[in-house]
Structures are given as structure tokens and as C-alpha cells.
Amino acid sequence: MDIRVFLLLLLVLVSSVEHGFSLYEDQVGLMDWHQRYIGKVKHAVFHTQKTGRKRVVVSTEENVVASLDLRHAEIFWRHVLGTNDAVDAVDIALGKYVITLSSEGSILRAWNLPDGQMVWESFLQGSNPSKSLLSVPINLKVDKDNVILVFSKGFLHAVSSIDGDVLWDKDFSAESIEVQQIIQPPESYVIYAVGFVGSSQFDVYQINAKSGELLKHKSAAFPDGFYGEVLLVSSDMLVSLDATRSNLVTISFRKEEISFSKTHISYLVGESLGIPVILPSKLSGILAVKFNTLLVFIRVKSEGKLEVVDKIANAAAVSDALSFSEGQQAFALVEHVDGKILLTVKLSHDWNSDFLKESIAMDHQWGLVQKVFINTYIRTDRSHGFRVLIVMEDHSLLLLQQGEIVWSREEGLASIIDVTTSELPVEKKGVSVAKVEQNLFEWLKGHVLKLKGTLMLASPEDIAVIQDMRLKSSEKSKMTRDHNGFRKLLIVLTRAGKLYALHTGDGRVIWSLLLPSLRKSGSCKHPTGLSVYQWQVPHHHAMDENPSVLVAGRCGPHWDAPGVLSFVDTYTGKELNALGLTHSVAQVIPLPFTDSTEQHLHLLIDSDQCAHLYPRTSEAIGIFQREFSNIYWYSVEADNGIIKGHALRSNCIGVVDEYCFNSSDLWSIVFPSESEKIIATATRKLNEVVHTQAKVIADQDVMFKYISKNLLFVATIAPKASGEFGKPTPEESWLVVYLIDTVTGRILHRMTHHGSQGPVHAVLSENWVVYHYFNLRAHRYEMSVIEIYDLSRAENKDVWKLLVGKHNLTSPISLYSRPEVMTKSQSYFFTQSVKALAVTSTAKGITSKQLLIGTIGDQVLALDKRYLDPRRSVNPTQAEKEEGIIPLSDSLPIIPQSYVTHALKVEGLRGIVTLPTKLESTTLVFAHGVDLFLTRIAPSRTYDSLTEDFSYALLLLTIVALIAAIFVTWVLSEKKELQEKWR
């Protein structure tokens, strides 16, 4: 009996470990959502034949090649290429293959247009870095084989479009020519490769398209020199700028002699307008030159004569010319007029007539138009209509047709930089049930269906309806706070400088804001968003204030550029305040103090190591002054291999600013540059809650965790091993990990893994750190865990003292007391390479933890922390087994059911964020990359609430049945008693 019970318990325990997070098929989509994106579109090629589905093939800055449905914007197929496999060009060949050139012109791939399967792939040889050009001539045939011309890495390749074989190639790397254009006039079998030699010589190579033979080489010197690139305006004319950027140079290259013709721009335009930029749009006979905001169209006549056709003040973008019926060519021009978009389609040969002119009202949160792609279609009356695809400032993609936005895709969400959360408003009283549940009949019907489902009377159609109801439950997408804290707002900052609020229930965008302070302006030329922080989180005081977030950014690519701050209300999505800073933003340190309106104090460190306090109020400075001597900060200079600790000293010298403090160096750790290079750091999350400082181990013994918010994990590797895989030998590569106290600079622990190399991913939580690296000796990935314990508290073991509370375990401690520590560590093999590492976090920190591993397959795997316990041994004792220690194995198990992303993929996975809910057992996991995915997991199962599939109906039935039984038996017993008395 005894043993049987024990076995049963063990079985329950084991099964809970293995399937604690697995889902049933009908639970998919119940508490998770997945959104698919592609990123900011770089190139678009339309494929709109009369038959078949109309589609557009795009390549994006997230290295995605995708085919979209032109009607509904659905993704037909999508391929996410690797992070260093950027797409250079896209085209369609033979009407059935999508050809992509990527990786700086070294990989050419063909994808099947309808289903996106790869047909062939060619690796193109070459060594010289150069422009990558792709040209798919329509009727250039070699041996009945359509040829694709690719210029990359100093070679011109002719590639068969059927199987990707290189038919011939021509080496230009010895010629010192910088090839700018590959021109293949449609009527001939001659290919022209044109380019510059040095800055003032123009060369033309004529090549036989069938064999790759060099037919002719012409060269001409242009003493003024060239600037930038050349643009092909017609089949025999090129345009470029001269070195002074004040003249336009037209080059006629197909005649016997190369001839140049120079035209002064200010003479042409009539006035000096600033620095000209030639737009790369191919407009056939016309070129567009941009001066700041003014766009000037210049027609190129024969003999290199130039003539200004039009000047447009608010032009945003120009598309390439598109040839439609009878050799007519049209292009689209987009202007911004009075907050609306003015789309004009013009014919290249006839400027004065607008083929189409449409004005479209547009949400200003999309920003300005950045790119336009034009496509034509035949209307029912057999005339030509045009649709355009536009890419906006916030990276979103829109299709315009007949003066309307047919669809839009928020592609900004494919490039999330930072994530934070905000609570939703509290539910107001007085909202009736009817309002929430639409109408009573529906509500009743739903419940009847549910009852049918629980009683297993439902037909398959009913089950489908029930499933649909569960997925679209209005409960999870309400705009109010819920009891369990599942409903929140995710505030995400994207690379375009746009802030989105996503609902955790169904992932819809509640509001979006293209931050005005992160848009290009006169004072801020290249703004970039850096990070987003919780600024004001009202919960106890200031309840009627709305919560707000702080967005930090900077006005330039370098870290000494002046910073910008923006404060955004998370309920309304309005910018409350924006600050253009005079100092730079090198670091933002949220302090653990709040003022009376629950604004969090933040310390901004600039590039001169001065600290600036925000909010700039006297109250904040009062709070800050009280804690002044206890505030430190540290900087990790990864390039120099130095970690420095700083303390605040006094107000800044030179500027009168009571919110500015200068700091002095306290300590520094210098890693020898010849042997160690910093590759990864990790700290504890600021909002992590730890429930207890003690860890009870087998035999009632207790160990005290070393729990410090000021713990920094640093991983360094040998500089030789920082290259690619396979380059370093195990002898010359090592990985050194440190645990550093960032207040005193004390190195608490140092450990070397010989024969190991990066990349290192690490996560630090409570008193442990887990990191992932590659072991060169074993040729496998490994994960290691270090747990750190405080020995200075270990004496506190007298029960009586603890009983009466005579201990100092909870009194505040100073890190200068230098507590004695002890570490335990263990390593395990792990079969997958990792993209991101995170750990679950819960409201009170009681629930056991799971590691969330973003795998190379773009999935998120949950791994119980118990597998990474340095106290694991091959044969655990009975007491250790009872404690839950798993017998040691050399590798960590990957249980297929524990993928929290189940069957889905988060393409291009970059980060995993965990958000605690009010329900202690549960945590929200948000994984972002090109795709977004959010789910709810319970690492120790939902021990504090009934599960979703709990049958309330059954419970109710049971209760009713029990009550009925009580009544019946009561009546029966009464009767019997009476009879007994009568006897």
C-alpha cells in the first residue's frame, strides 16, 4: 500500500514535470496569439496576370522575401533569410520564379512564385566588394535559356534561369573599374558594363551576351571627376553629378566615342537651392533631383540637353516608370498636401497631363511616404487603372487604389526595440451585463451550447461554434483590468520611432503614436529611439492619474549626440511632454524611488559621465538628496574591455543646473585585451520579486541565497575565439565568466571554461545565472549554471533566536560589509543553439522558475530550472529525491510538449519578455522578432485557480444533485423515524 501510494505520487509528479505546459489542440489560440509581419519593404515586384491571384513579391529590411495577396494583404508565403543575408534585389523571371540576390551579391536564389518553394540556389564566386546588381532581361536567350545577369563582387555572371547554372562569367576585379550599371538593350545581344575608374575616368565594356566575350572597351577621362552614382535615364544616356556637386553630367555611352555634357544646376534651375541628390527612380527620359524638400524633374533631351519640367515642393516619393500599353510609360508621384496624400500618375513623355490624380486622407500616425511602387490593371471599361503600394515613415505598407486605402499592414511591429507594460484602467461600476454580453439571447444561446459541450451532446458544428466563441471571448479583450491581471497593455517601441500599445488579450493595436520627438527635424537630423521605461505607475496614490511611459532617444547615430525624451500617456496614447535635451543619453538608470505622484525617478548618464535627474522637480531632488550617497552607477566599455564603477559627487561644474551631478570613478576592472574580450553581460531584472532569501535543502538544512540587485554577470572570451565557428582551436579559446558586485567592484566569482567560445547568452535571476556557450572540445553547445550563496548568514540557525525574532536576516545590509559567498556550478550539454534567453517572473516570486529559450528554429522552449541545479548528482539520496532533485544527466532534455510556441514560429526571434500577472502561478511570455507571439504559462501549473476547461456546469450539477439527495434522504429518514415511534 505504502509503496503503491508513493509510486502513484511520483507518477503524478513526473507527469506534471513533463507535461505541465503542454496544450491540447483545442486550446491553441485560447490564451496565445501570433501575428506575422514582414518588416519595412525595400523592393516590390508585382505579379498581376489576368488569371490567377494577384500578388506582390516584396523583400524587406528584416531580410524577408514574401509574396502578399494584393486583395487582402495576406501573406501567401514568406521566407526569413538569416540576419546577415540581406536581400539586395528581387525580380521575377520566366513569370514563375522569384529571383533574389542576397548576401552582398553572393547568393542567387529562385523561388517558385505560387508556393514559395526554393527552386534553385547558386553561390556566386568573387572576392572584391562591389555593388550588387541584378538584371532579368525579358528576351535575352542563350541556347533557349533565359539568362539572368548578376554583377557582384567584381564579376559579371550570366546565370541560367532554369537551373541556376552559371553560363559564363567575366572577371572585372583586375580592371580596377567600379561597375555602376549593367545595361542590356532589349534589341541586341550586347551587354554594357559601365563604371568609373578612379574618380575621373569613365569606362564602358561591351560584352557578348551569349558567350561573355569582351567585344569592346572604351574609356574616357572626365577631368572634373564624378560624385556618387550614375543613373540610366534612357537606353543610351547616363546622368551623374560632378565632383563639386554643382553640375549635372550626361554621358552618352553607346556611340563610338563616349561624350560628356555638363550643365550647371543653378543655371538650369534658375537659383541655388542647396545640395542636389539624384533620386534612383528610373523614369525613362526624366530624372528627379532632390534639393532638401524641393523635387525638380529634369527631362533629358537628345545630345545631353537638359530641361526643367517641373518643381514640386512637398514631394515625398517617386516610383519607377512602368510601361503599360503601346510603350507608354507612367510613374507615380506622391505629395503631402494639407495632411492628405496627393497621388499623381504621370506619363513620362507627356508631363503636362496627369493621368490620374487622387487625394487620399490618411492617418497622420503613419507619417510621411517613403517609397512608392506602381502597378497597373485593366478596368472593366478596358482603360488602364493604377494601384500603388506605399511604404510609410513608420514602416507600414499600404495599398492605394481608386483613391482609397485598400489595406494596410503595420510592418513597424516587425522591428521592436524595447518593450514595457502598462495596466489597463480599472473597471467602472454601472456597466450592465447586457452591455457586455450584447444581448441576453446570445448570452443564453452561448451558455446552452457550452452546456451541450460539457454533456458531450454537441455536434461537430456546435463544437466549432463553441471553439470560435472561446477564441473570440469578449472577456479577454476587454479594455479594463481583470482580476487575474492577464489583461495589460504592451507598450512597444519600434525602430521607426513609433510607439504601439498592444492588448495582451488578442494582440490588437489599441493606439499607436509616431513620436514627434523621434521624427526628423531641423534640430534632430537622425533620430533613433533607444528604450522605453515605465515613468508613472499610479496604484496607491494619484489613482486618477493615467500611467505614462518614458521614451528615451537620441538625435544621431553616435552616443554623444543630444538626447530626446518623450512622455506618453498609456491610456490615451498622447504625448504629454517632450524634451529636447542639451546633454547626450548614454545610459538611463531607473531608480527605485517614486515621488508623491508615483513618478519614477530616473538618472540619465551623459557621455561626459554627468548624471541628470528626471523628473526635474524640487520634490524629486529632495528624495534624491536623501539617498545621494548610496547611489552608484557603472559602465561596461565592451570595446576597451573595462568595467568602471562610479559614485556621484556634487553638482556639475560650469553649468548652473541643480539636477546635474558629476561623478568620480570608484573602481575599475580592466580585462587584458590580449586574452579577454567582453561579449556578454547580464543583470537581474529591476522588477523581479524574490520571495525568500533562504533555500531549504535536504535534511532540513538551510542555505542563504546571495540576493543582490547589484550583481553583474560578465562573460569574456579569448579575442582569437571571437571569430566564426571552426576557426579557433580548443587550445587557444576560453570563456571566462565573472560575477561582479557593481557597488564595490568586488569580483565575487570567476570561472574559466577552457576550449569554449561564444556567442554567450545569459540570464541572471535571484541568486543564479544560467549561460549558454559552445564547447569546442565536445563540439556541442553547453549550458552552465552558477548559484551563489551567502555564507555570512549561515550561522543563523538557532531555532530559539529565530523564534523570538532575534536575528538580523531582514535588516538592511551594506555591500561594503563584504559578505562571504560560496558558489556552486554545473554544466550540461544542450543540443540547440540559442537566440535569446529569459526566465519566467511571477508577482510574488513563489512559483518555481522556468527558463525560456529562444531556439535557433525561432521557437520558445520552456525548460524547468530544476534541470539546471548544481546540486544534481548521479545518485541523489532519498532526502534529495524528496526535495525534487533530478538525477544528473549529461545533457538537458528537450521535451517536445514544452515548446510554448507549440506549432508556431516567431520568425527572426530577437527577444523574450516575461510579464508577471496578478495570479501568482501565471506569467505572460511575449516573444518578438519579425513575428509577435504572446502566451500565458504557469511553470508549476495553475495551482491557484481553476483551469480554463474546468466544468462549472458539472460542479453545479453535482451540487444540485447532492442537495436533492440530502432532501430525499432527510424526508426518508423522517418517515422512518415516525414509523419507528408508532411501533
Binding site: A552, T692, Q700, I707
Partner: protein
């Protein structure tokens, strides 16, 4: 009874009187049945009742001692059960331990009741009561000991510190790699 009486009332025709008040056997024709002695009837009423009471109190005190010793058997039984249950925490061992704890406690609560029936001015119940209490306390001790072996008593430091929140740190430090 009533029925019989009714019948008797209705049809009483003859009667035999069996009562015989004579004490001397000689006065009767019929000898006394063997084993019958007239002298027993002659005993004094007072002595008879005293004797009776003595016997009863004897019996009562004997019984009281018996009752007082009864938990001992229980104790042995419990000890055996506990040994069987083992030292791991599961349903069986917990049940046994709690019953081992509950039985003595409830018994101790009902000490008065248990010995009520043996209450007598002449019976000294203090001894049995003390024994009863001692044995039950022994049983209780056994239960507590079992509880301890199961690890359910807060006798270790770990039981007092397991939920202590981490100590606050005086210093605060932040920073990291420069924002890019």
C-alpha cells in the same frame, strides 16, 4: 402481563399457595430440596447491603484500573501502525499520525466521563486517572514524535527562515553597456 392478569381475573377457580413461612424443616412433610439452605435467608439485611457495596466498589476500582490501563494497548497498537507507516509524508502516515494525536487528546478531554461510571465515595479514582492521563500523554508524545520524524514540526532553522524576505540593500547601482 396485563393479558394474563385479565384472564386470571375472569376465571379464578382454584389457587395453590406456595408460600411457606415456617422455618423449621421438621414442620414440613416435604424436605428441602438438596442444596437449599434456609440459613441464607436468615442473613441480616444491613450486612447484606454492605457486602454488596463492597463488592461493587471493588469491582468498580478494578474496572477503573482496567480502563486506565486500556490506552496502553492502544499505545502499542499505535506504535506498530506508525512503524508500518514509515517516515515519508503521504496520506497513510499523515492519517495515522493525526489519529495518534487525536485519540489521546479526545481521551484526555473526556477523562471525567470515562471514570464517571466508576465514581464512588469509597473508590479512589486518582490512581487510575493519573495512569490514564499518563498513558494518554505518552500516546500524545508518540504522536508528536511521529510528527517530528515526518518533519512536520518547526524544530529546524529552515522552518523559521523559509519565508523570510531578502534583506534590503543600502546601496543602489545601475548602468551597463552604453545604449546604442
Amino acid at each position: 402481563m396485563d393479558k394474563g392478569k385479565g384472564v386470571m381475573v375472569g376465571g379464578r377457580r382454584w389457587a395453590v399457595d406456595f408460600t411457606d413461612n415456617s422455618t423449621s424443616p421438621s414442620s414440613r412433610d416435604i424436605p428441602d430440596p438438596p442444596g437449599f439452605s434456609r440459613s441464607s435467608q436468615d442473613q441480616d439485611d444491613s450486612t447484606l447491603s454492605r457486602q454488596k457495596k463492597d463488592a461493587e466498589s471493588n469491582w468498580k476500582s478494578q474496572k477503573a484500573w482496567e480502563v486506565a490501563q486500556a490506552p496502553f494497548k492502544n499505545l502499542l497498537m499505535m506504535g506498530f501502525m506508525m512503524w508500518m507507516a514509515g517516515s515519508t509524508v503521504h496520506l497513510f502516515s499523515i492519517g495515522i499520525t493525526f489519529s495518534a494525536l487525536w485519540q489521546p487528546i479526545s481521551a484526555l478531554q473526556g477523562v471525567g466521563k470515562v471514570f464517571e461510571s466508576y465514581k464512588d465515595s469509597r473508590v479512589d479514582l486518582l490512581g487510575p486517572k493519573l495512569l490514564f492521563i499518563a498513558l494518554n500523554l505518552g500516546g500524545l508524545a508518540l504522536g508528536v514524535w511521529k510528527l517530528n520524524t515526518l518533519g512536520l514540526l518547526p524544530t529546524h532553522a529552515s522552518d523559521w527562515v523559509f519565508s523570510l524576505p531578502p534583506a534590503q540593500e543600502v546601496e543602489h547601482s545601475g548602468g551597463g553597456i552604453l545604449l546604442r
